[in-house]
């Protein structure tokens, strides 16, 4: 059997739209194109009904009530709305927030924006496995702390944070708890009631839905969470997010949630995990000096982030150009700095330059994986043959003993 190239192993960046999802969306562009806010004709009713079904589908994935779902343009907006919205609403209570150094930029930059407004933000570090220290979190909460924001699963290393424990701590201290669950949905069970989450960001395009649509879960039950909206207008979404609803996109996100739940319920996700495990085992069997970035035990089933020592990440990606992956190497980023997430884990800069992220998905096949594994092994050997560092290490030279000229 021949595999079709290129092979997509970058499902943490985005996912293809599931054909079943795309099919469900199409009638809402051409046929049922109504404005969900049009209360007086059937076009509007059809649109509204579709939106409410999607709301139920998404709510079912996360154990929420449909009334607790607010549609947004994506998780960047959801993170902004949760963090700035809660900070502004609870301003009188206090102006201190807590988050983590390894969060997505949408969270970190929302916090930076609040800092410019006079808020104070504590950025928790992480342990070498990428998880926060719960005692450090407990110690960081103050009387004026209004929000704790800790991501469910990291987008680079797939590390899962102890969300349930964090939820309990926040509940006990009366602090609102937000989590960015973009990467976790459909990969691990997520139940907001059980986890004690108050606000949760979601995005369709990481779970086989379309880009440009997301949602924020906002707890309504005890304790009820309030937010100040970011966008003023017609008062859609209970005033939390004005703007005509993107019905076809919402339909897509609803169906995406339905099939994400199916992956969990039918064990499809265990198949993805098996392939991921096979990749890691195969690499370890055939190559030396590989370093796993982040916890193995507390990790998304579809993620692998490895440093291939002495092989620069971008060169590696060029060498395996038929396989789409991403790298924490500086050469792939505009800033020329290697991944801040890996640096937060205490990964050496040298090793951060050699990191590759593999994100498997619903549509990854065994043939694709076998092909990728063989190609990666071949190319790492080829690049190491060309690497002066690998040669020096094999000659017994300690690279740290050399005085390198920084440039």
């Amino acid at each position: 059997m021949t595999v079709k190239l290129p092979i997509y192993l970058d499902n943490q960046a985005t996912t293809p739209v599931d054909p079943r999802v795309a099919e469900a969306m199409i009638p809402y562009l051409t046929q049922f194109f109504g404005n969900a806010a049009s209360r007086n004709h059937s076009f509007g009713w059809a649109a509204e009904e579709a939106v409410e079904i999607a709301r139920e589908e998404l709510a079912a994935l996360i154990g929420a009530s449909p009334k607790e779902i607010v549609w947004t343009s994506g998780a960047t907006e959801s993170n902004n709305l949760a963090i700035k919205g809660a900070a502004h609403y609870y301003e009188k209570k206090g102006k201190h927030l807590i988050t983590v150094a390894t969060e997505h930029k949408a969270v970190l930059d929302s916090c930076h924006a609040l800092e410019r407004e006079g808020y104070e933000v504590t950025y928790l570090g992480v342990q070498p496995d990428g998880r926060i220290d719960l005692d450090e979190l407990r110690g960081a909460i103050r009387d004026d702390t209004v929000l704790v924001s800790v991501m469910f699963a990291n987008n680079e290393i797939g590390v899962l944070q102890p969300i349930k424990e964090i939820g309990a701590i926040c509940r006990e201290r009366g602090v609102v708890f937000h989590t960015d669950a973009v990467q976790a949905l459909g990969k691990v069970p997520v139940d907001v009631a059980e986890l004690g989450v108050d606000l949760m960001s979601m995005s369709a395009h990481k779970m086989y839905g379309p880009k440009g649509i997301g949602a924020l879960y906002v707890r309504r039950g005890r304790p009820r969470v309030r937010l100040q909206p970011l966008i003023d207008g017609g008062g859609h979404e209970r005033g939390l997010r004005s703007g005509t609803l993107a019905v076809h996109q919402i339909v897509g996100m609803g169906k995406a949630a339905l099939y994400a739940k199916e992956d969990l319920d039918t064990g499809k996700i265990d198949e993805v995990r098996r392939l991921r495990d096979k990749l890691w085992a195969g690499l370890q069997e055939q190559l030396d000096e590989l370093y796993l970035n982040g916890s193995w035990d507390h990790r998304l089933p579809n993620n692998l982030n490895i440093s291939f020592a002495y092989v620069e990440g971008e060169a590696m990606m060029m060498a395996i150009k038929d396989i789409a992956v991403s790298s924490g190497s500086a050469c792939t980023s505009a800033s020329l700095e290697p991944s801040y997430v890996l640096r937060a884990l205490g990964v050496d800069v040298e090793l951060a330059h050699t990191s590759i992220r593999f994100g498997l998905g619903r549509f990854t096949t065994e043939e694709e994986l076998d092909y990728a594994l063989a190609l990666i092994v071949e190319k790492v050997r080829w690049l190491r043959e060309m690497s002066p560092l690998y040669e020096m290490v094999k000659e017994g030279i300690d690279l740290k003993s050399i005085e390198w000229a920084a440039h």
């Binding site: 971008e314 505009a334 040298e350 002066p388 040669e391 390198w404 920084a406 440039h407």
Partner: protein, 129 residues
């Protein structure tokens, strides 16, 4: 990022990969860059008594542009006199490979590698007296 065909060719089919005996009196070795910066080049030049570069070998840890720059440099210096090799500028390398602006540092490193290898050779000759 779209790379030139020439760059991709030098990356996919790098010329003169390998190592020479760094203790040999007629071999100059330049090791430049730093692992922490994401690129390290080792360039070795075998130079005869007439000051002509008879052979060049490289090994590079770095991105595709760094590897291509190293490969190109080995083909440029072979058969040249030391003096001519010293005249090679990073801008020549960058132009030849059509390096994008963010990759100019790769050509700077390649120029440094030539200079370092020649300096090493001269030092050895001086020590031999």
């Amino acid at each position: 990022m779209a790379y030139s065909d020439k760059l991709i060719d030098h990356y996919e089919n790098p010329q003169n990969v390998g190592s020479m005996d760094k203790a040999a009196p007629d071999v100059g070795t330049g090791l430049v860059g730093a692992p922490a910066c994401g690129d390290v080049m080792k360039l070795q030049l075998k130079i005869n008594d007439d000051g002509i570069i008879e052979d060049a070998k490289f090994k590079t840890f770095g991105c595709g542009s760094a590897i291509a720059s190293s490969s190109l440099v080995t083909t440029m210096v072979k058969g040249q006199s030391i003096e001519a090799a010293e005249q090679i500028k990073n801008s020549d390398i960058a132009a030849e490979l059509a390096l994008p602006p963010v990759k100019i540092h790769c050509s700077v490193l390649a120029e440094d590698a030539i200079k370092a290898a020649i300096a090493d050779y001269r030092k050895k000759r001086a020590q031999q007296g």
